[in-house]
Symmetry: C2
Subunit: 279 residues, 2 copies
């Protein structure tokens, strides 16, 4: 693991790091915010944040204003990049919504993407193992949160790995990727045209057979330009209702898809995670 | 005035705008955050934020996390670009610390810069007049704040215009530009080689004959890589001491020159301004 830069922030420490990833077949960037409690020697729980299309490991740390509240609650924050970067594949940057910066937090099975695009295994396995080894971060006390593509990633991670996360939340998640253009484009290319293979990567489909042991907190802005075409929170509400999955879906009048929306409500999310994590 | 984008944020509204500037000889971008009180019809005081080298009207609004506190205190925030952009001059982007994105908040007297580079008149005159006309922003109840080059700009603006600002603060300001490399490079090119002309644009020099009616709040990180060469807060402390100018200079152990430093202490600054503005 290599330190790229570190900054003092709300009496804690924000660092940007690089390491050689096995599952993503090359160097990956990630970032960690440690609250003051961790710098004083305590092992603290971490919240993993999965960003959306076009973002990097920097976006959440720079734009969300989350560290003030994380410092107060004694939570670490961990963010990663949104796709593998080192292994370049043909046409991997032809689209802003597929390939580079659009890994969709799945484990690709289709060539050539299966050579490196294993973001699900990365964020649920390799990255936690790394940060729990290298930083004063508690083992087995994780929360996960994400935005848009990353909201999809967070919900799928929590549903697929019972016990691995104590809490989950999302901002404007793509909760039914099998039924919207963004998801259909990505899943067909990463996983193939057989839609049966998509069900394991679609929150609404997963809820047919799985439940998360806790309440899903989901925030959605009503002025989000992707609301009707890509996000469709009513499908998530319906799937949770059928499954008996507790869901707190909050619609926010006039808020859009930007990090200004996230910044406004991130404190509520961190407090939701802190309660589950006993902070 | 043209609206570029608007976003809901902490129940207020953040907008990015463009207008035709007379003093900067062409279109300029700026941004305004209105707190909920302003959206309810109240005229609220504004804090002008002047950013540093390489920044734009977006930087502070995206990175500083200031809107949460501004919303609570009922303060508007106004930010502008860091140089004229529309009138392009030969070699104006050869340097990251001079020309484009480096207007130094002076009124240039030397060709060719004097054709457009009048950022001081812009931020102290044309911009306040515009926003006080177009937005529910109180007249004659202004605060001004800035970072690095913008900290210099804020202190100079407050000292040169008695009564125009009720409060002033700065993060890591270039408070003695006549005596440091950044300042010498910029002032010699914008104002000419005659150093007598520089004194009106140097906080420490201005303090020989002027005082601000209030306390200057200045924060500085001890791990700022520009501390010893460009910022030299001891020169500001000495000038204030000689002048009898109240100064609250706070040195922060381990903090650097980034917006992570600003984000940590912006609430203290906004509360400092709010007290002077009666909020």
């Amino acid at each position: 693991m290599k330190t790229r830069t570190e900054h003092r922030l709300f009496d804690g420490k924000l660092g940007f790091y690089e390491h050689d990833s096995t599952v993503c077949a090359g160097p990956m960037h990630f970032s960690v915010y440690l609250p003051p409690a961790a710098l004083s020697g305590e092992r603290v729980p971490a919240i993993y944040f999965l960003a959306g299309l076009t973002c990097t490991e920097e976006t959440f740390m720079i734009k969300a204003g989350a560290q003030r509240c994380a410092a107060a609650l004694g939570l670490a924050l961990v963010a990663c990049d949104t796709s593998p970067r080192a292994t370049r594949l043909p046409h991997d940057d032809d689209h802003w919504d597929f390939g580079q910066a659009a890994g969709y937090y799945v484990d690709a099975t289709q060539a050539p993407w299966s050579r490196a695009y294993h973001m699900h295994s990365y964020v649920t396995g390799e990255l936690p193992a790394l940060v729990e080894r290298e930083f004063p971060i508690a083992v087995e006390a994780r929360g996960i949160c994400g935005h848009s593509m990353g909201g999809h990633g967070a919900l799928v991670a929590a549903l697929r790995h019972p016990g691995r996360y104590r809490s989950v939340s999302a901002f404007a998640p793509i909760a039914a990727p099998s039924r919207v253009p963004w998801g259909q484009k990505a899943l067909s290319r990463y996983l193939g045209e057989d839609r049966a293979a998509w069900a394991d990567w679609d929150t609404c489909e997963l809820l047919r057979t799985r439940r998360f042991d806790g309440t899903l907190l989901v925030d959605q802005g009503t002025a989000d330009k992707f609301l009707e075409t890509e996000l469709k929170p009513s499908l998530l509400a319906e799937a949770c209702n059928v499954a008996g999955q507790p869901l707190q879906l909050r619609m926010h009048e006039g808020y859009d898809h930007s990090y200004f929306f996230i910044a406004t409500f991130i404190e509520d999310h961190l407090r939701h995670h802190a309660r589950a994590l006993g902070r």
